[in-house]
Amino acid sequence: MTFAGWLTIVLFVVVLTALAIPLGRYMAAVYTGERTILDPLFNTPERLLYRILRVDPHREQDWKAYAKSLIIFSLAGWLLLYFILRTQTLWNWTGLNPEHFHSAPWNVTFNTTSSFLTNTNWQYYSGETTMSYFSQMAGLTVQNFLSAGVGIAVAVALIRGIVSRSGSSLGNFWHDLVRTVLWVLTPISFVIALVLVFGGATQNFSHYLSFNGPTGLANSIAMGPVASQEAIKLLGTNGGGFLNVNSAHPFENPTGFTNFVEMLTVLVIPAALVFMYGRMAGNRRQGYAIFATMMVMFVGAVCVAYIAEAHGSPAQHAAGLHTQVIAGSTGGNLEGKEQRFGIAGSALFDVVTTVTSCGAVNSALESFTGIGGAVPFANLSASEVIFGGVGTGLYSILLYVLLAVFIGGLMVGRTPEYLGKKIEGREIKLVTLALLITPLTALFSTALATASASGRASISSAAAGTPQGFSETFYAYLSQANNNGSAFAGYTGFIQPNAGSLGSHGITFADVLGGFTMMFARYAPILFALAVAGALAGKRVSPAGLGTMRTDNPTFVVLLIGVIILVGALTFFPALLLGPIVQGLTGHLY
């Protein structure tokens, strides 16, 4: 461990908080219809969009109408994306398929489409050997924007349900979606994309470079419009890399500077949403309490990952390597990590993208040490509520807040209330269902894949029959169920011996099971969250009394952390023991 490493972590927390507070204030204004600084820029496009879409943004929707619009819009997006990916060669006339790649097979495309629709960005394909520039732009980039917009819309709707004073309206889905993509996602990704190019990232439509190096060896280098997709992939906590190794690729993440910018880009909206919530709830301390809960768990995860990775791995030590810091070398477990990021820059990045539903990586999670690798597992096991995905993180932790209020209420023997609204049987049933669906889906899919030969076909050869093989499988379905998309990437659903899809095939079992896992674990909790919002929207607000449990003080933060860890631990601990923990507890090689 180094001083610069710890400094990076401290500065990251400080800068993130400093950026998230004003962004939260701005976003609260965006959704409550107050004036914002960007109104002159976007008011006209907004009106134009509503006219083209033939929607009245002021028509109030109850939770069922809101959900219906959301589901139908997602379905339309699914169909168009599947079509674009499967007809890749039809778009060669655009000149945006310079390497003439054919489409991936149907099963891989099914998985990819479901993946990008659900903000997961799990990738059973390698960008630079499978996707044309056209597919990346018109297909994947578009859903990077829209799936993020859908997630934020659900969070806004749930907030409206919690704070509404009368009626059953949650707002209007189209209004929330349009304002999110125009006022929030477009300007920030525009700036970040240009900052990344300034920092060295690539942005062109060229053929792949082909050349002979200084010693005469022939080589080629993938090109493409990387930065524009990189920016929204991070900002929307999507995480699907333009290139196979994601943000480890020098064209996606060229320097230590861009690495820092990229980490901030991932967390800034999830953090800002919490402050936005405090403002919209009319009590900023509610936001601070949730922010504190998330930050405590985040910093804990970062410290564990950094210390574990700096210590090095049993395989390194068995080979006779010394892994402490020496002059001119960072030491630690540098397998699957880039020199320019070092241990701290890699550990922090991967914690940032696994607490959120981003799932981008700048190092190989599979090569993390047992304990270091258990951190992303734990982050996913907490159901992505440590900041979480854009929107998904906030609506998930609000459900946990309701659960904590309920448990707290039982403990003190009072009717549970949150912000003056009684939390009753119906709400708690819905909350429990919403929170249990993701873990259950993850465990069910993992069990299917572990117990069947077709599931085990996806495990990498080096890990077959070892705890690492179980880790790969478990992580694959945990990641897809949580819509994260990071991977212990030895696990595969696509056999691709050559660049392009000729001679390649998908592993139908992994592709289809993964696709359904992602969609079920995305849309079912959304429906339950909206149903909770609907149930709360109509409730009357009673004034806080002496016996009301406070939800904005340190005691509640501790209770909330306890509930999150309890649910995650009870659900996942047995499975975690079999994979990463057993490897973390031993120096034995398998």
């Binding site: 990076t8 219906k68 619009s69 139908i72 168009l80 390698s126 018109a138 980039t141 578009v142 924007f145 829209l146 240009l194 190019v197 060295g200 690539t202 062109n204 439509f205 792949y208 470079l209 002979n212 200084p214 010693t215 005469g216 060896l217 080629s220 280098i221 993938a222 090109m223 930065a227 524009s228 190794v245 480890a248 690729h249 020098p250 064209f251 060229p254 230590g256 820092f260 791995s313 395989a315 080979a319 390597l321 001119g328 960072t330 397998e335 699957g336 990590k337 880039e338 020199q339 820059g345 190989a364 090569s367 040490t369 270091g372 080096a462 880790s471 990437a489 030895g490 090689l589 398998y590």
Partner: protein, 219 residues
């Protein structure tokens, strides 16, 4: 229901035009004007011929020739030996190593026998190349970046400790004073981002090209 379907169908097409076509085109346009070098992958030319990208690492090796025939492995990739005149990049998991069109990491687990074997092989290769010029070098003194493969398989950098060890070999093979080579190493050592983010490293391609330009280098 019908209204939602119409709105969704129009919406997805319009938004695809905006975010799938317009947005990347605008970013590309601005980037190509404002930062053309970066936007096009930081290409490096030598005497008007492309030799690589500053950001993408390379294998500095020569193809093995037997009986006048360049040797290839069973997949048709060249069989190579490291070129001792050059600084060597980190181990790479791509096929063939440093294949800039197919990045990948090794996906070797922390407790796997295969990982230990891979690292041991990398250490042996490093020692075979460097030990003749660094008599005190042992496995315990090999910097981790020289024994562990990178995340991208295309890492352009090596650690300063790694470069310092290799400098002895390069200086000897090229008949250059060690101080000259060390001077170039520090010249091409990049600092941390913003002074704190990440690690400093030596850009291997830059360094090797500078060596080729150095006078008195009889290579």
């Amino acid at each position: 229901m019908k209204k939602d379907i119409v709105t969704s169908a129009i919406g997805i097409l319009v938004l695809t035009l905006v975010f799938g076509i317009l947005y990347p085109l605008v970013i590309t346009g601005i980037s190509q004007v404002a930062f053309p070098g970066n936007a096009n992958g930081q290409q490096i030319d030598v005497n008007g011929k492309l030799v690589g990208s500053q950001l993408i690492g390379q294998q500095f090796a020569t193809q093995v020739v037997k009986n006048g025939k360049p040797q290839v492995d069973k997949n048709g990739n060249p069989v190579t030996n490291p070129d001792p005149r050059y600084f060597q990049s980190r181990p790479s998991a791509t096929v063939p190593p440093y294949n800039g069109a197919a990045s990948t990491f090794s996906n070797l687990g922390p407790n796997n026998v295969a990982t230990e074997q891979e690292i041991s092989a990398n250490i042996q290769a490093y020692l075979a190349l460097e030990k003749p010029y660094n008599p005190g070098l042992t496995a315990a003194k090999v910097p981790v970046d020289a024994a562990n493969s990178s995340a991208s398989g295309l890492d352009p950098d090596i650690s300063v400790a790694n470069a310092d060890i290799q400098a002895h070999r390069v200086a000897a093979v090229r008949h250059l004073p060690l101080a000259t080579v060390m001077g170039l190493v520090s010249k091409y050592t990049g600092g941390r981002g913003l002074g704190f983010s990440g690690e400093s490293g030596v850009n291997v391609l830059d360094l090797n090209l500078a060596l080729d330009r150095t006078k008195g280098a009889r290579a």
